[in-house]
Amino acid sequence: MSAQVELVRAEARLAAREPVATFWVVAFPSLLLAVFAVIPVFRERQDDLGGLSLLDLYLPINTTLALAFLGLHVLPGALAGYREKGVLRRLSTTPVGPVRVLLAQLAVSAVTGLAGTTLLLALGWGVFGVARPADPLPFLGVLVLCLLAMLGVGLALGALCATTKAAAVAGNVLFFPMMLLAGLYVPLALMPEVVQRVGELSPLGAGALAMQRAAAGEPVGWPPLLALAGWTVVALAVSVRRFRWE
Protein backbone atom coordinates (compact mmCIF):
# COMPACT_ATOMS: atom_id res chain seq x y z
CA MET A 1 0.00 0.00 0.00
CA SER A 2 1.22 3.50 -0.67
CA ALA A 3 3.17 5.29 2.00
CA GLN A 4 0.76 8.24 2.01
CA VAL A 5 -2.24 6.01 2.68
CA GLU A 6 -0.36 4.18 5.43
CA LEU A 7 0.63 7.50 6.99
CA VAL A 8 -2.96 8.75 7.01
CA ARG A 9 -4.09 5.47 8.56
CA ALA A 10 -1.41 5.72 11.23
CA GLU A 11 -2.35 9.34 11.99
CA ALA A 12 -6.03 8.40 12.15
CA ARG A 13 -5.28 5.58 14.60
CA LEU A 14 -3.18 7.92 16.73
CA ALA A 15 -5.94 10.55 16.71
CA ALA A 16 -8.47 7.92 17.78
CA ARG A 17 -6.15 6.93 20.65
CA GLU A 18 -5.68 10.57 21.71
CA PRO A 19 -9.27 11.16 22.81
CA VAL A 20 -8.61 14.32 24.84
CA ALA A 21 -7.69 16.32 21.73
CA THR A 22 -10.58 14.87 19.79
CA PHE A 23 -13.00 15.65 22.63
CA TRP A 24 -12.41 19.40 22.44
CA VAL A 25 -12.89 19.52 18.67
CA VAL A 26 -15.62 16.95 18.12
CA ALA A 27 -17.65 16.70 21.31
CA PHE A 28 -17.24 19.89 23.36
CA PRO A 29 -18.73 22.45 20.92
CA SER A 30 -21.83 20.24 20.54
CA LEU A 31 -22.12 19.77 24.31
CA LEU A 32 -21.93 23.53 24.77
CA LEU A 33 -24.62 24.01 22.12
CA ALA A 34 -26.82 21.50 23.95
CA VAL A 35 -26.36 23.43 27.20
CA PHE A 36 -27.33 26.70 25.47
CA ALA A 37 -30.32 24.99 23.87
CA VAL A 38 -31.90 24.09 27.22
CA ILE A 39 -31.66 27.70 28.49
CA PRO A 40 -35.00 29.30 27.55
CA VAL A 41 -33.63 32.81 26.95
CA PHE A 42 -31.28 31.44 24.25
CA ARG A 43 -34.26 30.21 22.23
CA GLU A 44 -36.24 33.47 22.29
CA ARG A 45 -36.25 35.49 19.10
CA GLN A 46 -34.95 38.97 19.84
CA ASP A 47 -35.64 42.13 17.89
CA ASP A 48 -32.17 43.63 18.53
CA LEU A 49 -30.67 40.47 17.01
CA GLY A 50 -32.72 41.00 13.85
CA GLY A 51 -35.38 38.53 14.88
CA LEU A 52 -32.90 35.72 15.51
CA SER A 53 -32.40 33.85 18.77
CA LEU A 54 -29.10 33.69 20.64
CA LEU A 55 -28.97 30.00 19.73
CA ASP A 56 -29.14 30.94 16.03
CA LEU A 57 -26.08 33.16 16.55
CA TYR A 58 -24.24 30.57 18.61
CA LEU A 59 -24.36 27.74 16.06
CA PRO A 60 -21.79 29.53 13.84
CA ILE A 61 -19.85 30.68 16.91
CA ASN A 62 -19.61 27.13 18.24
CA THR A 63 -18.50 26.06 14.78
CA THR A 64 -15.58 28.48 15.05
CA LEU A 65 -14.96 27.15 18.57
CA ALA A 66 -14.40 23.64 17.17
CA LEU A 67 -12.02 25.07 14.59
CA ALA A 68 -10.24 27.14 17.25
CA PHE A 69 -9.45 24.04 19.32
CA LEU A 70 -8.21 22.37 16.14
CA GLY A 71 -6.02 25.19 14.87
CA LEU A 72 -4.77 26.57 18.18
CA HIS A 73 -4.31 23.41 20.22
CA VAL A 74 -4.52 20.06 18.44
CA LEU A 75 -2.56 20.75 15.26
CA PRO A 76 0.29 22.93 16.64
CA GLY A 77 0.66 20.60 19.64
CA ALA A 78 0.96 17.58 17.35
CA LEU A 79 3.47 19.27 15.03
CA ALA A 80 5.63 20.70 17.81
CA GLY A 81 5.52 17.30 19.52
CA TYR A 82 6.68 15.57 16.36
CA ARG A 83 9.58 17.97 16.09
CA GLU A 84 10.43 17.84 19.80
CA LYS A 85 10.41 14.04 19.88
CA GLY A 86 12.46 13.74 16.70
CA VAL A 87 9.67 12.03 14.76
CA LEU A 88 10.14 14.40 11.81
CA ARG A 89 13.91 13.92 11.97
CA ARG A 90 13.42 10.16 12.00
CA LEU A 91 11.16 10.34 8.95
CA SER A 92 13.51 12.64 7.08
CA THR A 93 15.93 9.69 6.89
CA THR A 94 13.41 7.50 5.05
CA PRO A 95 12.37 7.71 1.39
CA VAL A 96 8.99 9.31 2.24
CA GLY A 97 10.48 12.40 3.79
CA PRO A 98 8.64 14.42 6.38
CA VAL A 99 6.39 16.46 4.07
CA ARG A 100 3.96 13.59 3.67
CA VAL A 101 3.70 13.27 7.44
CA LEU A 102 2.51 16.88 7.54
CA LEU A 103 0.00 16.12 4.77
CA ALA A 104 -1.28 13.11 6.70
CA GLN A 105 -1.51 15.19 9.87
CA LEU A 106 -3.42 17.92 7.98
CA ALA A 107 -5.76 15.38 6.39
CA VAL A 108 -6.62 13.82 9.74
CA SER A 109 -7.03 17.26 11.34
CA ALA A 110 -9.36 18.33 8.52
CA VAL A 111 -11.48 15.21 9.00
CA THR A 112 -11.59 15.77 12.77
CA GLY A 113 -12.68 19.39 12.20
CA LEU A 114 -15.34 18.33 9.70
CA ALA A 115 -16.58 15.64 12.10
CA GLY A 116 -16.95 18.19 14.91
CA THR A 117 -18.72 20.78 12.77
CA THR A 118 -20.96 18.19 11.07
CA LEU A 119 -22.13 16.91 14.46
CA LEU A 120 -22.74 20.48 15.55
CA LEU A 121 -24.83 21.37 12.48
CA ALA A 122 -26.78 18.12 12.67
CA LEU A 123 -27.66 18.84 16.31
CA GLY A 124 -28.39 22.53 15.77
CA TRP A 125 -30.42 22.26 12.58
CA GLY A 126 -31.88 18.80 13.18
CA VAL A 127 -32.54 18.69 16.94
CA PHE A 128 -32.53 22.14 18.49
CA GLY A 129 -34.47 23.91 15.74
CA VAL A 130 -31.82 26.47 14.82
CA ALA A 131 -32.89 28.48 11.74
CA ARG A 132 -31.55 26.61 8.73
CA PRO A 133 -30.57 28.54 5.59
CA ALA A 134 -32.72 27.75 2.58
CA ASP A 135 -29.52 27.23 0.60
CA PRO A 136 -26.86 25.65 2.85
CA LEU A 137 -24.08 25.93 0.25
CA PRO A 138 -22.83 29.45 1.15
CA PHE A 139 -22.78 28.45 4.83
CA LEU A 140 -20.81 25.26 4.10
CA GLY A 141 -18.50 27.16 1.76
CA VAL A 142 -17.62 29.64 4.50
CA LEU A 143 -17.18 26.75 6.93
CA VAL A 144 -14.61 25.13 4.63
CA LEU A 145 -12.79 28.47 4.15
CA CYS A 146 -12.67 28.95 7.90
CA LEU A 147 -11.39 25.38 8.35
CA LEU A 148 -8.61 26.03 5.83
CA ALA A 149 -7.66 29.28 7.58
CA MET A 150 -7.44 27.53 10.96
CA LEU A 151 -5.46 24.61 9.52
CA GLY A 152 -3.10 27.27 8.19
CA VAL A 153 -2.91 28.96 11.59
CA GLY A 154 -2.24 25.56 13.18
CA LEU A 155 0.59 24.86 10.72
CA ALA A 156 2.07 28.32 11.30
CA LEU A 157 1.97 27.92 15.09
CA GLY A 158 3.48 24.45 14.71
CA ALA A 159 6.21 26.02 12.59
CA LEU A 160 6.92 28.91 14.97
CA CYS A 161 6.80 26.98 18.26
CA ALA A 162 9.83 24.79 18.87
CA THR A 163 8.33 22.76 21.71
CA THR A 164 4.94 21.43 22.78
CA LYS A 165 5.15 23.72 25.80
CA ALA A 166 5.62 26.81 23.63
CA ALA A 167 2.81 25.65 21.36
CA ALA A 168 0.47 25.17 24.33
CA VAL A 169 1.26 28.64 25.67
CA ALA A 170 0.80 30.28 22.27
CA GLY A 171 -2.48 28.43 21.73
CA ASN A 172 -3.82 29.50 25.12
CA VAL A 173 -2.75 33.12 24.67
CA LEU A 174 -4.43 33.34 21.25
CA PHE A 175 -7.55 31.42 22.18
CA PHE A 176 -9.22 34.06 24.37
CA PRO A 177 -8.92 37.10 22.06
CA MET A 178 -9.73 35.07 18.96
CA MET A 179 -12.87 33.60 20.51
CA LEU A 180 -13.79 37.02 21.94
CA LEU A 181 -13.65 38.43 18.42
CA ALA A 182 -15.77 35.52 17.19
CA GLY A 183 -18.41 36.48 19.76
CA LEU A 184 -18.19 33.45 22.04
CA TYR A 185 -18.45 35.50 25.23
CA VAL A 186 -20.69 38.29 23.92
CA PRO A 187 -22.18 38.17 20.40
CA LEU A 188 -20.17 40.44 18.15
CA ALA A 189 -23.30 42.40 17.18
CA LEU A 190 -23.61 43.57 20.81
CA MET A 191 -20.01 44.76 21.09
CA PRO A 192 -18.56 48.25 20.43
CA GLU A 193 -18.15 49.30 16.81
CA VAL A 194 -14.32 49.11 16.95
CA VAL A 195 -14.34 45.56 18.27
CA GLN A 196 -16.81 44.59 15.58
CA ARG A 197 -14.57 46.00 12.83
CA VAL A 198 -11.47 44.21 14.16
CA GLY A 199 -13.49 41.04 14.75
CA GLU A 200 -14.67 40.97 11.13
CA LEU A 201 -11.04 40.74 10.03
CA SER A 202 -9.93 38.06 12.52
CA PRO A 203 -10.05 34.48 11.23
CA LEU A 204 -12.73 33.25 13.61
CA GLY A 205 -14.66 36.56 13.70
CA ALA A 206 -14.82 36.67 9.92
CA GLY A 207 -15.87 33.02 9.87
CA ALA A 208 -18.59 33.46 12.51
CA LEU A 209 -19.94 36.63 10.87
CA ALA A 210 -19.98 35.12 7.38
CA MET A 211 -21.71 31.97 8.63
CA GLN A 212 -24.28 34.03 10.55
CA ARG A 213 -25.06 36.02 7.39
CA ALA A 214 -25.23 32.85 5.29
CA ALA A 215 -27.51 31.20 7.86
CA ALA A 216 -29.85 34.20 7.76
CA GLY A 217 -29.94 34.01 3.96
CA GLU A 218 -28.17 37.38 3.65
CA PRO A 219 -25.32 37.97 1.19
CA VAL A 220 -22.05 37.09 2.89
CA GLY A 221 -20.11 39.99 1.35
CA TRP A 222 -16.49 40.09 0.29
CA PRO A 223 -14.71 41.43 3.42
CA PRO A 224 -15.02 38.29 5.61
CA LEU A 225 -14.27 36.00 2.66
CA LEU A 226 -11.16 38.00 1.75
CA ALA A 227 -10.13 38.04 5.41
CA LEU A 228 -10.36 34.23 5.58
CA ALA A 229 -8.49 33.80 2.31
CA GLY A 230 -5.87 36.32 3.49
CA TRP A 231 -5.29 34.52 6.79
CA THR A 232 -4.93 31.22 4.94
CA VAL A 233 -2.33 32.64 2.56
CA VAL A 234 -0.38 34.46 5.27
CA ALA A 235 -0.40 31.44 7.58
CA LEU A 236 0.78 29.11 4.82
CA ALA A 237 3.53 31.55 3.83
CA VAL A 238 4.71 31.73 7.45
CA SER A 239 4.61 27.92 7.72
CA VAL A 240 6.62 27.40 4.56
CA ARG A 241 9.22 30.01 5.50
CA ARG A 242 9.59 29.17 9.15
CA PHE A 243 9.04 25.43 9.37
CA ARG A 244 11.95 23.49 10.85
CA TRP A 245 12.22 19.74 10.74
CA GLU A 246 14.26 19.58 13.96
Binding site: A10, R13, E18, V87, R89, R90, T93, T94, P95
Partner: protein, 322 residues
Protein backbone atom coordinates in the same frame (compact mmCIF):
# COMPACT_ATOMS: atom_id res chain seq x y z
CA UNK B 1 34.64 -0.69 -4.05
CA UNK B 2 33.77 0.58 -0.57
CA UNK B 3 30.06 1.25 0.00
CA UNK B 4 30.80 4.30 2.11
CA UNK B 5 33.72 6.54 1.28
CA UNK B 6 34.46 9.64 3.33
CA UNK B 7 37.41 11.84 2.40
CA UNK B 8 38.69 14.87 4.29
CA UNK B 9 35.19 15.58 5.57
CA UNK B 10 34.95 18.96 7.28
CA UNK B 11 31.91 20.47 8.94
CA UNK B 12 31.86 23.75 10.84
CA UNK B 13 29.27 25.16 13.18
CA UNK B 14 29.65 28.87 13.71
CA UNK B 15 33.14 28.87 12.21
CA UNK B 16 34.36 26.20 14.62
CA UNK B 17 35.25 22.93 12.89
CA UNK B 18 33.31 20.09 14.50
CA UNK B 19 34.55 17.57 11.97
CA UNK B 20 37.99 18.39 10.63
CA UNK B 21 39.31 16.34 7.73
CA UNK B 22 37.86 12.94 8.59
CA UNK B 23 38.49 10.08 6.16
CA UNK B 24 37.41 6.45 6.27
CA UNK B 25 35.73 3.78 4.21
CA UNK B 26 33.21 1.06 5.02
CA UNK B 27 33.05 -2.09 2.93
CA UNK B 28 30.14 -4.41 2.38
CA UNK B 29 29.60 -6.63 5.40
CA UNK B 30 31.95 -4.56 7.52
CA UNK B 31 31.21 -2.91 10.85
CA UNK B 32 33.19 0.30 11.28
CA UNK B 33 33.10 1.86 14.72
CA UNK B 34 33.38 5.57 15.39
CA UNK B 35 34.79 6.10 18.88
CA UNK B 36 35.31 9.35 20.68
CA UNK B 37 34.35 11.71 23.48
CA UNK B 38 31.14 13.69 23.40
CA UNK B 39 31.65 16.46 20.90
CA UNK B 40 34.39 14.61 19.02
CA UNK B 41 32.31 14.89 15.84
CA UNK B 42 30.94 11.36 15.61
CA UNK B 43 27.27 12.18 15.21
CA UNK B 44 27.93 15.00 12.75
CA UNK B 45 30.02 12.59 10.68
CA UNK B 46 27.29 9.98 10.46
CA UNK B 47 24.69 12.65 9.75
CA UNK B 48 26.77 13.64 6.72
CA UNK B 49 26.87 10.00 5.62
CA UNK B 50 23.09 9.79 5.99
CA UNK B 51 22.73 12.93 3.85
CA UNK B 52 21.14 14.89 6.71
CA UNK B 53 23.92 17.48 6.54
CA UNK B 54 26.08 18.69 3.69
CA UNK B 55 29.84 18.86 4.30
CA UNK B 56 31.60 22.24 4.26
CA UNK B 57 34.61 20.58 2.66
CA UNK B 58 35.69 17.12 1.61
CA UNK B 59 33.59 14.44 -0.02
CA UNK B 60 31.14 11.82 1.15
CA UNK B 61 30.11 9.03 -1.18
CA UNK B 62 27.52 6.35 -0.49
CA UNK B 63 27.28 3.77 -3.28
CA UNK B 64 29.30 6.23 -5.32
CA UNK B 65 26.91 9.20 -4.97
CA UNK B 66 26.87 12.29 -2.79
CA UNK B 67 24.17 11.63 -0.17
CA UNK B 68 23.53 15.32 0.57
CA UNK B 69 22.92 16.10 -3.12
CA UNK B 70 21.02 12.89 -3.82
CA UNK B 71 18.83 12.62 -0.75
CA UNK B 72 16.59 10.14 -2.57
CA UNK B 73 19.48 7.69 -3.03
CA UNK B 74 20.68 8.19 0.55
CA UNK B 75 17.22 7.67 2.01
CA UNK B 76 16.84 4.38 0.17
CA UNK B 77 20.37 3.10 0.68
CA UNK B 78 21.03 4.16 4.26
CA UNK B 79 19.01 2.82 7.17
CA UNK B 80 19.40 5.19 10.07
CA UNK B 81 19.03 4.81 13.81
CA UNK B 82 19.56 8.21 15.37
CA UNK B 83 19.93 9.43 18.91
CA UNK B 84 17.03 11.41 20.31
CA UNK B 85 14.61 10.54 17.60
CA UNK B 86 11.52 8.71 18.67
CA UNK B 87 8.06 7.70 17.54
CA UNK B 88 4.60 8.83 18.66
CA UNK B 89 3.93 7.25 22.07
CA UNK B 90 0.71 5.59 21.02
CA UNK B 91 2.03 4.01 17.83
CA UNK B 92 2.38 0.24 18.29
CA UNK B 93 5.44 -1.83 17.42
CA UNK B 94 3.83 -3.76 14.57
CA UNK B 95 2.19 -0.64 13.16
CA UNK B 96 5.45 1.28 13.22
CA UNK B 97 7.29 -1.44 11.31
CA UNK B 98 4.53 -1.85 8.74
CA UNK B 99 4.36 1.94 8.33
CA UNK B 100 8.12 2.25 7.76
CA UNK B 101 8.05 -0.77 5.44
CA UNK B 102 5.51 1.07 3.28
CA UNK B 103 8.04 3.89 2.80
CA UNK B 104 10.48 1.65 0.93
CA UNK B 105 10.23 0.18 -2.55
CA UNK B 106 11.45 -3.29 -1.54
CA UNK B 107 11.17 -3.75 2.23
CA UNK B 108 12.16 -6.88 4.08
CA UNK B 109 9.49 -9.22 5.43
CA UNK B 110 8.09 -7.42 8.48
CA UNK B 111 6.93 -10.57 10.29
CA UNK B 112 10.35 -12.19 9.87
CA UNK B 113 12.12 -9.05 11.07
CA UNK B 114 9.87 -8.84 14.16
CA UNK B 115 10.69 -12.48 14.84
CA UNK B 116 14.42 -12.09 14.27
CA UNK B 117 14.72 -9.15 16.64
CA UNK B 118 12.55 -10.72 19.33
CA UNK B 119 9.83 -8.11 18.83
CA UNK B 120 7.07 -10.44 17.67
CA UNK B 121 5.57 -10.84 21.15
CA UNK B 122 5.61 -7.06 21.63
CA UNK B 123 3.99 -6.14 18.32
CA UNK B 124 0.79 -4.85 19.96
CA UNK B 125 2.65 -2.76 22.56
CA UNK B 126 2.59 1.02 22.26
CA UNK B 127 5.95 2.74 21.72
CA UNK B 128 5.53 4.83 24.86
CA UNK B 129 5.16 1.69 27.00
CA UNK B 130 8.32 -0.03 25.72
CA UNK B 131 11.42 -0.49 27.86
CA UNK B 132 14.61 1.22 26.72
CA UNK B 133 15.93 -2.02 25.30
CA UNK B 134 12.81 -2.68 23.26
CA UNK B 135 12.79 0.90 21.97
CA UNK B 136 16.37 0.51 20.77
CA UNK B 137 15.54 -2.82 19.18
CA UNK B 138 12.54 -1.31 17.40
CA UNK B 139 14.70 1.60 16.27
CA UNK B 140 17.21 -0.90 14.91
CA UNK B 141 14.39 -2.78 13.16
CA UNK B 142 13.14 0.45 11.58
CA UNK B 143 16.65 1.15 10.29
CA UNK B 144 16.71 -2.29 8.63
CA UNK B 145 13.14 -2.62 7.37
CA UNK B 146 13.94 -0.96 4.03
CA UNK B 147 16.67 -3.54 3.30
CA UNK B 148 19.39 -0.84 3.25
CA UNK B 149 22.94 -1.36 1.98
CA UNK B 150 24.28 0.80 4.81
CA UNK B 151 23.11 0.97 8.41
CA UNK B 152 24.05 3.98 10.53
CA UNK B 153 23.66 3.14 14.21
CA UNK B 154 24.20 6.04 16.62
CA UNK B 155 24.70 4.84 20.20
CA UNK B 156 22.64 1.76 19.62
CA UNK B 157 23.05 0.29 23.08
CA UNK B 158 23.46 3.38 25.26
CA UNK B 159 21.38 2.99 28.40
CA UNK B 160 20.71 -0.72 27.97
CA UNK B 161 21.36 -3.28 30.65
CA UNK B 162 24.17 -5.75 29.94
CA UNK B 163 21.86 -8.54 28.86
CA UNK B 164 19.80 -6.43 26.46
CA UNK B 165 23.05 -5.05 25.10
CA UNK B 166 24.43 -8.49 24.35
CA UNK B 167 21.20 -9.45 22.60
CA UNK B 168 21.34 -6.37 20.40
CA UNK B 169 24.99 -7.12 19.54
CA UNK B 170 24.08 -10.64 18.50
CA UNK B 171 21.35 -9.28 16.28
CA UNK B 172 23.65 -6.73 14.66
CA UNK B 173 26.18 -9.47 13.92
CA UNK B 174 23.48 -11.72 12.48
CA UNK B 175 22.23 -8.96 10.20
CA UNK B 176 25.69 -8.08 8.97
CA UNK B 177 26.39 -11.75 8.31
CA UNK B 178 23.15 -12.58 6.53
CA UNK B 179 22.56 -9.36 4.60
CA UNK B 180 26.06 -8.06 4.03
CA UNK B 181 25.09 -4.60 5.23
CA UNK B 182 27.85 -2.06 5.76
CA UNK B 183 27.46 -0.76 9.31
CA UNK B 184 28.69 2.55 10.69
CA UNK B 185 28.46 2.29 14.45
CA UNK B 186 28.82 5.28 16.75
CA UNK B 187 29.67 4.17 20.24
CA UNK B 188 31.08 5.16 23.60
CA UNK B 189 31.48 1.60 24.67
CA UNK B 190 34.86 -0.05 24.18
CA UNK B 191 33.27 -3.39 24.87
CA UNK B 192 30.83 -2.78 22.05
CA UNK B 193 33.63 -1.76 19.71
CA UNK B 194 35.62 -4.84 20.62
CA UNK B 195 32.69 -7.20 20.07
CA UNK B 196 31.16 -5.70 16.97
CA UNK B 197 33.63 -3.68 14.98
CA UNK B 198 35.91 -5.02 12.30
CA UNK B 199 37.70 -1.70 12.43
CA UNK B 200 37.30 1.39 14.55
CA UNK B 201 38.15 5.02 13.94
CA UNK B 202 39.03 6.97 17.06
CA UNK B 203 37.92 10.59 16.78
CA UNK B 204 39.18 13.46 18.88
CA UNK B 205 38.33 17.10 18.27
CA UNK B 206 36.90 16.33 14.87
CA UNK B 207 39.90 14.34 13.62
CA UNK B 208 40.62 10.66 13.18
CA UNK B 209 43.54 10.00 15.51
CA UNK B 210 43.69 6.30 14.73
CA UNK B 211 41.91 3.82 12.49
CA UNK B 212 42.57 0.15 12.91
CA UNK B 213 41.12 -3.13 14.08
CA UNK B 214 40.27 -3.05 17.80
CA UNK B 215 43.24 -5.36 18.44
CA UNK B 216 45.43 -3.16 16.27
CA UNK B 217 44.45 -0.08 18.26
CA UNK B 218 45.45 -1.82 21.45
CA UNK B 219 48.68 -3.01 19.90
CA UNK B 220 49.48 0.48 18.67
CA UNK B 221 49.23 2.10 22.06
CA UNK B 222 51.03 -0.47 24.08
CA UNK B 223 51.74 -3.81 22.58
CA UNK B 224 53.15 -4.42 26.01
CA UNK B 225 51.81 -7.25 28.12
CA UNK B 226 52.91 -8.70 31.36
CA UNK B 227 52.59 -12.09 32.99
CA UNK B 228 52.86 -12.53 36.74
CA UNK B 229 53.10 -15.79 38.58
CA UNK B 230 54.76 -17.57 41.52
CA UNK B 231 56.85 -20.52 40.26
CA UNK B 232 56.38 -23.83 42.11
CA UNK B 233 60.13 -24.42 41.97
CA UNK B 234 63.23 -22.25 41.61
CA UNK B 235 63.42 -20.72 38.13
CA UNK B 236 66.38 -19.06 36.45
CA UNK B 237 65.17 -15.74 35.00
CA UNK B 238 67.73 -16.09 32.22
CA UNK B 239 65.67 -18.92 30.70
CA UNK B 240 62.79 -16.50 30.30
CA UNK B 241 64.99 -13.61 29.16
CA UNK B 242 66.26 -15.79 26.35
CA UNK B 243 62.79 -15.85 24.78
CA UNK B 244 62.41 -13.46 21.85
CA UNK B 245 58.96 -12.35 23.13
CA UNK B 246 60.34 -11.26 26.48
CA UNK B 247 61.66 -7.75 27.05
CA UNK B 248 62.18 -7.82 30.78
CA UNK B 249 61.92 -10.15 33.78
CA UNK B 250 61.74 -8.95 37.36
CA UNK B 251 61.64 -11.14 40.43
CA UNK B 252 60.34 -10.19 43.78
CA UNK B 253 62.64 -11.90 46.27
CA UNK B 254 60.58 -12.55 49.45
CA UNK B 255 57.63 -14.43 47.90
CA UNK B 256 59.33 -15.43 44.66
CA UNK B 257 56.83 -13.55 42.45
CA UNK B 258 58.05 -13.36 38.86
CA UNK B 259 56.91 -10.64 36.48
CA UNK B 260 57.61 -11.07 32.78
CA UNK B 261 57.12 -8.18 30.33
CA UNK B 262 57.02 -8.64 26.61
CA UNK B 263 55.06 -8.59 23.36
CA UNK B 264 53.41 -10.91 20.88
CA UNK B 265 52.57 -14.46 21.99
CA UNK B 266 54.12 -13.82 25.38
CA UNK B 267 51.84 -16.05 27.44
CA UNK B 268 52.26 -19.03 25.19
CA UNK B 269 56.04 -18.66 25.12
CA UNK B 270 56.32 -18.33 28.89
CA UNK B 271 54.00 -21.22 29.66
CA UNK B 272 55.83 -23.47 27.17
CA UNK B 273 59.16 -22.75 28.85
CA UNK B 274 57.68 -23.40 32.27
CA UNK B 275 56.27 -26.72 31.10
CA UNK B 276 59.65 -27.71 29.68
CA UNK B 277 61.34 -26.80 32.97
CA UNK B 278 58.73 -28.73 34.93
CA UNK B 279 57.65 -25.62 36.82
CA UNK B 280 54.02 -24.85 37.63
CA UNK B 281 52.96 -21.22 37.49
CA UNK B 282 50.88 -20.54 40.60
CA UNK B 283 48.45 -17.62 40.63
CA UNK B 284 49.14 -16.83 36.98
CA UNK B 285 47.89 -13.38 35.99
CA UNK B 286 48.03 -11.79 32.60
CA UNK B 287 47.88 -8.04 32.22
CA UNK B 288 47.47 -6.41 28.89
CA UNK B 289 46.36 -3.09 27.52
CA UNK B 290 42.65 -3.02 26.89
CA UNK B 291 40.83 -1.05 24.24
CA UNK B 292 39.78 1.25 27.08
CA UNK B 293 43.44 2.05 27.77
CA UNK B 294 44.10 2.47 24.06
CA UNK B 295 41.14 4.79 23.69
CA UNK B 296 42.21 6.95 26.60
CA UNK B 297 45.78 7.08 25.37
CA UNK B 298 44.76 7.92 21.82
CA UNK B 299 42.20 10.57 22.65
CA UNK B 300 43.93 11.87 25.78
CA UNK B 301 47.12 12.72 23.93
CA UNK B 302 45.19 15.36 22.01
CA UNK B 303 44.14 17.11 25.11
CA UNK B 304 47.32 16.91 27.12
CA UNK B 305 50.39 16.94 24.91
CA UNK B 306 50.47 19.14 21.85
CA UNK B 307 53.58 17.34 20.60
CA UNK B 308 51.43 14.22 20.40
CA UNK B 309 49.43 15.85 17.67
CA UNK B 310 51.98 15.52 14.91
CA UNK B 311 52.63 11.94 15.84
CA UNK B 312 48.98 11.03 15.57
CA UNK B 313 48.52 12.97 12.39
CA UNK B 314 51.17 10.71 10.96
CA UNK B 315 49.14 7.72 12.07
CA UNK B 316 46.05 9.23 10.53
CA UNK B 317 47.66 9.77 7.12
CA UNK B 318 49.01 6.26 7.06
CA UNK B 319 45.52 4.90 7.72
CA UNK B 320 43.95 7.00 5.01
CA UNK B 321 46.33 5.60 2.43
CA UNK B 322 45.56 2.04 3.43
Amino acid sequence: MPIVEVQHLTKRYGGRPVVDGVSFTVEEGEVLGLLGHNGAGKTTTVECVAGLRAPDAGTVRVLGVDPAARRDVARRAVGVQLQESTLPDRLRVGEALRLFASFHPAPVDVAALLEALGLAEHRAQAYGDLSGGLKQRLSFALALVGAPRVAVLDELTTGLDPRARREVWQQVRAVVRTRGVAVLLVTHSMEEAERLCDRAAVLARGRVVALDTPAGLVERVAGEQSVRFTPSAALDPAVLRALPEVTDVTTDAPDGLVQVHGRGELVHAVVSVLAREGVVARGLRIERTTLDDAYLALTGSWWTAEQGVTEHEGVHREEVRR
